[in-house]
Structure formats: C-alpha cells, structure tokens
Amino acid sequence: MAAAKNDILQGTLTLLVLKTLASNKRMHGYAITTHVQIVSGDLLRVEEGSLYPALHRMEQHGWLRAEWGVTEKNREARFYSLTAKGRKQLVDEEDSWARFTEGVGRVLRYV
C-alpha cells in the first residue's frame, strides 16, 4: 500500500502476464495483478493503466484467449488463458529476459 510504486517496463509486463497464466489456467485481470504483487513479495506492482491495453494487445496477437465467466463471488469477469502460441512466446520472452539481465549484469560487474 504505502510501498514505493514501481513502474514496470511494458515489455516485462507481457513476460509477467504470460508467466502468471502459465502457472494458473484461467485468471481475470485483477487476479493477475494480485498474483504478481504477492509472488514478487510486493516488489512489483502492475500499473493498472497499462494492464488492460496490454491484455487486449496480447489477445490480438493470439497469445491469450479470453472468455466471460463467473467468479466465486458470482460476479461476471473476463478470464484469460494461455494459448499454444502464447506458450511459445513465453519461452521466447524468457530467453530474451535472461539475455538482457546477463548483459546488464555484466556491465554492472565491470569495475
């Protein structure tokens, strides 16, 4: 709540969403937000302003599938799940991220 708001680069947002949905079959947008927050130990907070446009964009790309469903509280929500294409994209993104962090790490380790 009072923790410093950390903006997340849009590219990593895609990665996080894909990974989140890889571990959980179906989630709605709010659930994705909370999952990221909890799992990262409150280090990461998803900027809600960019979440939904990102979700829709990923849906257009064919990485996510979306359908309307009902939560436990009997509320209507839009649930997203990963497609085969999305799974492949996840692998690609993980590779890129690994390369990125390795690269940044190397630069930082340089004295």
Binding site: P53, H56, R75, A77
Partner: protein, 904 residues
C-alpha cells in the same frame, strides 16, 4: 483471424466499449472489496480504488483502439453521421441520389451492352483460337473478303492442312418439321461432324455427330438445341433415340446442346441473328462434289496450340494450288480474281461493325454522368455554404482540415454509393426492356446481363463520381492553411455576394448546360437523319398494305421441279381468288429482305469485256405480277407472264440503274441480252423496272437482274437446272396484318398442300422498318440521353438562380423598400440566367463541332456541322433555361420587404 474480428468490431463499437467498461468496473470493484475487507469504509474504498486505477477513459479508449481498426471505425462513424444528416434534409438527399442514379444507371446499362458484345470473350473454350476460314477475291475492282468455301475445298483442306486442330463447315438454313400439329419451319445449322468439336461445347445430353453421320447412305441423324427441345418436346430426355420428321424424312435424335450454347452467327452481316433450332449433319452427295460447286459453306477451325493466325493463312495459301490441282477447278479464273485466303478470328465476325456505335454511345452516356456529377457538386456546394457556420465551429474546436475534408468526402461517398445502388436497379430494368425490344442488329443480345465486371464498374463509377463532385466543396472549405473566420452567429450581413463563390457555381452550370447542348445537337442530327431516311422513296408503294410470308417447297416433299412450279402457280391463284386481295406474287427475295439477297456474275451484251470475273449483280427470281403487287413502276417493256414461266423462256427484266449503266437509256435495253458468267445461255431483256432501295434507304439503289420464276436453264451442258423452292409471297390487301386475314391465307395455301410450313409472316412495312433499325436505335439512345442531359442542366440552372436569390434576400428587400420596381428585380435575375446559358450554349456549340464528327458514319442527308440544328438547339436551351429561372426570379420579385427586413 484476429483482423477479421477487428473488422467486425468496427461495426460493433458500442458493444466492444461496453465489454471493456464491464471489465474495468469489475477490476475496480474487486479492489474496492479488497480495501473494504481491510477496514476502509465502502464509499472511501470505491473512491480509492478508482483513483488507483487511473484514467478510466483513456484506458478504455486505448483498449478499444486495439480491438478494432482505428481509421475504419472513424470512417464508419463519418458514414453514420452523414446518414443522419441526410435524414434531416431528405429533399436534398433525394435529389442528389436521383440525379446520380440516372447518370450511373445509364452508364452501367450501356457498359453492360459494351461488355457483353465487345469485351466478354465468346462462350466457347479458348475462343481466341477459333478462326473463320474466308477467302478474298476481286470482282471488277471490288474486293470481297467474305468468300466462302466450296465442298471440294473442304475435302482438300481437311486432308492437307497442318495448322488446324479441328476444321469443319457450317451454313445456316431452314427446314420443315412435320408430324405433330401444324408444319413448322425451323432454323437449322448444317454442320460437318468436326464443327461442333471445333467449337468445343459438348452436348448436354447425347453425343456429337461422328464421321459416320456425315457419310451418305447411313442412318440420318439430327441434334436439337436446348430452346427448341424445350419448346417442341417439353424437355423430355426420352427424345434421344426417337425419330423426328424433318423435310419429310425421319431422323434420329442423337443429342441436345446445352442451354448456353449459341452458334457464332454474324450480327450485322444481314444474316439472321437468331438461334438455330435444329442441327443437321452436312452430307455431300458424291455427285455434288463438282469442281465448280457453289461457295456457300462457312469454314471454322480451331488452331493447333502454338499456331498463329499468320501461319494458318500461309497454310491455306499453300493448299489453294493443291485444291485446284486435285479438283480441276479453273486456275485462270481464280488467278484473275486474285483469289486468296482471308482468315480472321470468329469474334470479329460476330461483332461486326457495331463496335463503333457502342463506343459512341458509351461516350455519350459518360457525358450525361458528368453532367449529373456537376449537378450534385453544385448542390453540395450550396449546402456547404449553408453549413459554413457549423464547419467553422468544428474548426475552432480543433478539427484539422483533414478532418473536415474527410467529413465532406464521406458525405459524398454515401451519396455516390446510394446513387450507384439506385442506378444499378435502373440499369437492370432498362436492360430487361432492351432485351424485350430486341433491336435486330445488336449481336449477342441474349448474352447481355449484369455480371461481376459490370458491378465492379458501377461501384468504381459511383466512388469516382463521388470523389469528383465531393472534391469541389471539400477544396473550398477544407484546404490546408485555410482559416475559417467565424462570422457573426446569425450569418453574414454582407449586402452583396462574394464573386468567387458565384464563379464556381456558374462554371458548373456552364459545364452542365454546355454538355447538354452537345448531346442535343447530336440528337437533333439523328432526328434529321431519321426524317431524311423516311423521306426517301423506297421504290415500291404503300408497304403497310403488303402481307408477306415465306414458303418453302423442299426437295423431299416435292422432288419434281415441274410440280414445284405448278404448285407455286396453284397457290398463287388460290390466294388471288380470296376476297380483298388486290394482287399476289412471289420472289426469292423481296425488296429489303437482306437475308435472302444473292448476287451472280452477270455479263451484259454490249458491255466492254474485262479481265476476270464479270461484275456481280444482285439477282432475284420473281413471279409474274411481282412489280404490280409491290407497286414498282415498269419503265419500259413488259412484265413476265405465266407462259414465259411454263415454256421456260430465256427472258429477264433489269432494274433502271443497270440499264442506264450499260446502255445509257432504259428503253435501249429492251431486246439486249444478258447471261450468267461467260458461258451461260443468253437471256433477252423484255422489261426495265424502276429502281428500288434494296439495300436500305441509306444506300443507292443497286443494279438488279430479275430472273423469272420457274425452272431456270442449266448454265452449262449437262449441268443442273435451278428451280427456286424458297420464296417469299407478297399479297397486297387492305386487310394486311389482321389475324383473320393471315389465317385465310394459310388455309388457302394448305388447300393446295397441307405440309407446307409458313414462316416469317410479316408486312412489308415491318421489313421496311427493320432496315431503318440501325438509325432508329442510335436515335432513340441519343434522344434519351439528350433529354436527360437537358433536364439535369435545367435543374442546375434553377439551383444556381435559386441560390442567388436566397443569398440576396436582404438586399432585394432593401431595394424594394427603397422603391425599386418588381419587374426590374425579375428582369435582373432572368438576365443573369440568360447570360450563363448563353455562355454555356457557345461553349456547347464549339464542343459539338468537334464531337459530332464522330457521328458522321451514322448520319444521312445532313452534315455533322449543320447550322440549322445547332441554332434550333440553342433557341430551345435558352428558352428552357429562362423558364427554369422564372420560378426563383418570380419568387425574388414577390419578396415582401418588411418580412425580410424583420428576419434575422
């Protein structure tokens, strides 16, 4: 396919937006719940959650843009807006759409015809490989490229050719079908067995002819066309294998051609442009294969793959000497006539020379469309003026010039598409009408329809016109860098009118009326042509009182020629005995019956002997009384008598022009002699008849040799005699054309022989009208276009003056209040309209000088730059323009000054 969904979402923007709204709401509610569970009061939780979420509107917009196609959705919105606006001013929208509908509809209709006749390929597989085998020959300095093949040529070409994949002969003919009901005369095509395979259209049921069917002595067969099969046999497939009696002989039906099959019969060459009913195999009797057999068969071939037309021509040239050697034809005659091949593609034959007329028509209708566009552009301009305020406010609120331009163009496109849809409907109706009227000389008439190409063309035209007329107001109001000055809210208080505004409008009206003038001048010229043609004396009298019918006495029915002649004489006497019949006779071809026209090489005694073949002269076989029945004057000598016929006397009658050409004076021709070719028996000239316009009133009367009816002597020793069996009867009576009379005639004929079919029952008047058909078709089309153009032009003039009046209401009110005369106001506006029209007429006349030259092929008796016509048109246009301006001008003159001054 994601883009498909996005495309669909363009039209469901509200639904998409609602979905996103729901998603966002859900998220906010969840967070609010979360906060509430953690202890915050509900209202505050909601508030915090919303604030935490961020700018809902922007997020929703972003999401929506991702889910649909941005620019398309914008465009769609513009269209929806335009529709709403048009619903508010239906009069304007209706006028615009109607105007466009007329223009586009006419264009689409003409294009359909052009498409079906000129552009669309013939309905055979690989039609470019089909060629017609013709020959060229020179007869007395006239070269004909339409010489057909003889039977012996067929045999030679078939055996020796190297370039044809298929090669066959055909000729059109007629036959009698008897057996059930009235004897019926049918149109036939007689083909050798290779012809249908050459065309490449397989029968719907059954099989083609084979070589066996062509061989003399085998079982006689026949094929039916789909139309005839349905008409006569009710579409019964069991007809295959059964016999049909044709020309008194039973034939087995072996196949039915498909519904879409048409024979490539030439359109304007005078051959009947009708579909055949029955297809018969061509058989050559061994005795028929004489060296000098008549060149009466049309050759058609399909080129081998990879072979060009030139190679085929060379091949035929190579085969000609072979033919001469094999069949013993006289090579001297052929060389003298410069006999040679003249191959051409079948499509050229079918289309004939209609092409030029159609393109002229296309140009004409294009002009009408332009006029319609100018009209609508004017309307839009006027409207945009009225919306100047609204557009200015838009610009002030941030709409760039691109936005405004897009908005105006969207309106135009909506109008254009609506006009196009209406036009398509009108075109369809018009085409149905055209096919029903069926002008005789439009080839491939049955193929005219609205197909994909026409639809695409119409759509293209609609959008193009829309852009064209939409550009004008768009350019005026939405140019980059143009700043819209916000005038006073109540509109400009300017007393006058800015000159530039009026100039564009005037320019548009000048264009419209000018084009209308061009079209009207063209119509006027055609009207004069038509009248001139009607005034030409055809050479025979009162054609509407002459009933005609075609009678064939076929060889199998009556084999003996003497019996044929007796039968013809009996029929003639039988008809002459009927009440109200003033005169009867018959001939192989009546005047203007171009389908039965024949020519023969005729030498006249005393004519200078020339090299090569003697001149070809039109020949008819006529019975005694022919000239009296048709009202053709006998200038000198006497008519044939039945004694001449029965005794087979060698006598002829010549037309006046021939007599004059050869011997100078018609009277001098009496007693002279003529013969066929150079070796035929001499025939004595016993009479000279007045000239008739046998080839149509727009052609000079040709030289005609009238042979007598009955058996004609052989042309050489042991050669065959000739008896005309197919003749047209002419009956002069005041009861011509009535159903009862025709029945009476039929009964009288059948009293002599009940198996004779009667065909082509029509009056001479109808034959005469048909010969004028080409001119009248063009005239009707041009007249329609001219009237449309004039109407549109007048609407334009009305619009401009009306607008001028409405802009200057205050000024007029002030002037009237200050004492100006009402008539002065009236005159002022009338003067304005006359000025505009006068300039338009001037431009139109100048333009028409250039354009009507194109028409000169169709004109008769009037030059393309006829001043009377042009003067007449100018007077009419000025008059109508003044009338059109009267209404708004009167309205101006009747303005009540107090009311206008109080208006604000």
């Amino acid at each position: 396919m994601p883009w498909l969904r996005r495309l669909v979402n363009v039209f469901r923007s509200r639904r998409v937006d609602r979905d996103i709204q729901r998603e966002v709401d859900f998220h906010i509610n969840e967070r609010a719940d979360q906060l509430h569970t953690e202890g915050m009061p509900l209202a505050q939780a909601r508030e915090t959650a919303r604030r935490h979420f961020g700018n809902t509107l922007r997020i929703r917009e972003d999401s929506r843009r991702i889910n649909s196609i941005g620019w398309l959705e914008l465009l769609f919105q513009e269209f929806r807006f335009a529709m709403r606006v048009f619903r508010k001013s239906p009069a304007f929208a209706a006028t615009a759409v109607l105007t466009l509908g007329l223009g586009i509809g006419a264009t689409a209709a003409v294009f359909s015809v052009v498409d079906a006749v000129l552009i669309r390929p013939l309905p055979y597989p690989d039609p470019d490989r089909l060629i017609g085998i013709w020959h060229s020959a020179q007869f007395q300095a006239v070269t004909s490229r339409n010489v057909r093949l003889s039977s012996t040529m067929y045999l030679t070409y078939r055996e020796h050719n190297r370039t044809f994949a298929e090669f066959g002969l055909w000729r059109p003919g007629a036959a009698t079908v008897t057996g059930a009901g009235d004897p019926e005369q049918v149109r036939t095509i007689v083909v050798t067995h290779e012809t249908l395979p050459a065309l490449g259209v397989t029968p719907a049921i059954g099989r083609w002819f084979s070589a066996a069917d062509d061989r003399y002595g085998t079982n006689e067969t026949v094929m039916l066309t789909d139309g005839y099969w349905r008409r006569r046999f009710g579409g019964d497939a069991g007809i295959i294998g059964r016999a049909v009696t044709i020309d008194a002989r039973p034939r087995e039906v072996i196949g039915i051609m498909p519904r879409t099959f048409r024979f490539p019969i030439a359109g304007l060459a005078g051959v009947l442009n009708a579909d055949a009913d029955v297809i018969l195999p061509q058989r050559f009797e061994p005795a028929q294969l004489l060296p000098n057999d008549v060149h009466t068969y049309i050759g058609i071939a399909r080129l081998k793959p990879g072979v060009s037309l030139e190679q085929a021509t060379v091949d035929v040239a190579r085969m000609l000497p072979l033919w001469i050697a094999e069949r013993g034809t006289s090579s001297a005659v052929l060389t003298a006539a410069r006999f040679g091949p003249a191959l051409r593609r079948v499509k050229e034959d079918v289309v004939g020379d209609v092409g030029s007329v159609l393109w002229v028509l296309m140009g004409t209708i294009g002009l009408v469309l332009l006029i319609a566009c100018a009209n609508v552009a004017n309307l839009l301009l006027v409207r945009a003026e009225g919306r100047r305020q609204e557009l200015t406010v838009r610009a002030a609120l941030g709409a760039g010039w691109r936005h405004i331009a897009r908005h105006l163009l969207a309106e135009s496109v909506v109008l254009g598409v609506a006009g196009g849809a209406l036009g398509l409907g009108l075109a369809y109706a018009g085409l149905q009408l055209l096919i029903a009227i069926g002008p005789v000389n439009v080839p491939r008439l049955s193929e005219i329809s609205i197909d994909g190409r026409v639809l695409a063309f119409t759509l293209g035209m609609s959008v193009a016109s829309a852009v064209l007329f939409g550009l004008i107001p768009a350019l005026k109001f939405a140019r980059p860098g143009r700043n819209m000055a916000l005038g006073t809210v109540s509109g400009s208080r300017n007393i006058g009118d800015s000159p530039t505004r009026q100039r564009t409008q005037h320019a548009l009206v000048i264009v419209q009326v000018g084009l209308a003038v061009v079209l009207l001048v063209a119509s006027g010229l055609m009207i004069r042509t038509f009248l001139a043609l009607r005034n030409v004396e055809p050479g025979f009298a009162v054609p509407s009182q002459v009933q005609t019918m075609r009678l064939s006495i076929s060889q199998p029915e009556v084999p003996d020629p003497e019996r044929v002649v007796r039968m013809q004489q009996d029929i003639l006497n039988g008809l002459a005995g009927l009440p109200s019949v003033a005169a009867v006779s018959f001939a192989t071809a009546l005047p203007m019956e171009s389908e039965f026209e024949t020519s023969m090489a005729v030498t006249a005694e005393g004519e200078p002997v020339t090299q090569g073949i003697p001149p070809m002269r039109r020949s008819k076989n006529v019975a005694p009384g022919f000239f009296a029945t048709l009202g053709i004057r006998l200038i000198a000598g006497r008519d044939f008598t039945w004694t001449d016929v029965v005794d087979r006397r060698p006598v002829v009658i010549l037309s006046a022009s021939m007599a004059r050409d050869v011997w100078g004076d018609p009277a001098a021709a009496i007693g002279k002699r003529v013969r066929v070719g150079r070796g035929g028996p001499w025939n004595e000239v016993i009479g000279v008849a007045g000239d008739i316009h046998d080839s149509g009133v727009d052609q000079a009367p040709p030289a005609i040799v009238y042979w007598r009816a009955g058996i004609q002597g052989a042309l050489s020793a042991n050669g065959p005699t000739f008896t005309p069996r197919d003749v047209t009867f002419a009956i002069r009576s005041s009861r011509t054309g009535t159903e009862a009379f025709i029945r009476q005639l039929a009964q009288a004929i059948w009293a002599t022989n009940p198996n004779l079919p009667l065909a082509r029952v029509q009056t001479m008047g109808e034959i005469y009208d048909r010969s004028m058909a080409r001119a009248s078709f063009a005239l009707v089309m041009l007249a329609i276009a001219g009237v449309m153009a004039l109407t549109l032009g007048m609407v334009g003039v009305y619009g401009v003056i009306s607008y001028a009046v409405s802009r200057r209401r205050r000024e007029i009110g002030v002037r009237l209040a200050l004492g100006a005369a009402r008539t002065g106001i009236l005159r002022q506006f009338l003067r304005q309209s006359i000025r505009v029209s006068a300039v338009a007429c001037l431009c139109g006349v100048v333009l028409s000088l250039a354009v009507t030259r194109v028409l000169s092929g169709l004109l008769y008796g009037v030059s393309p730059v006829d001043t009377t016509t042009m003067a007449g048109v100018v007077v009419v246009v000025l008059l109508v323009a003044t009338l059109a301006a009267m209404i708004p001008a009167t309205r101006a003159a009747l303005i009540q000054p107090m009311r206008t001054l109080r208006e604000e």
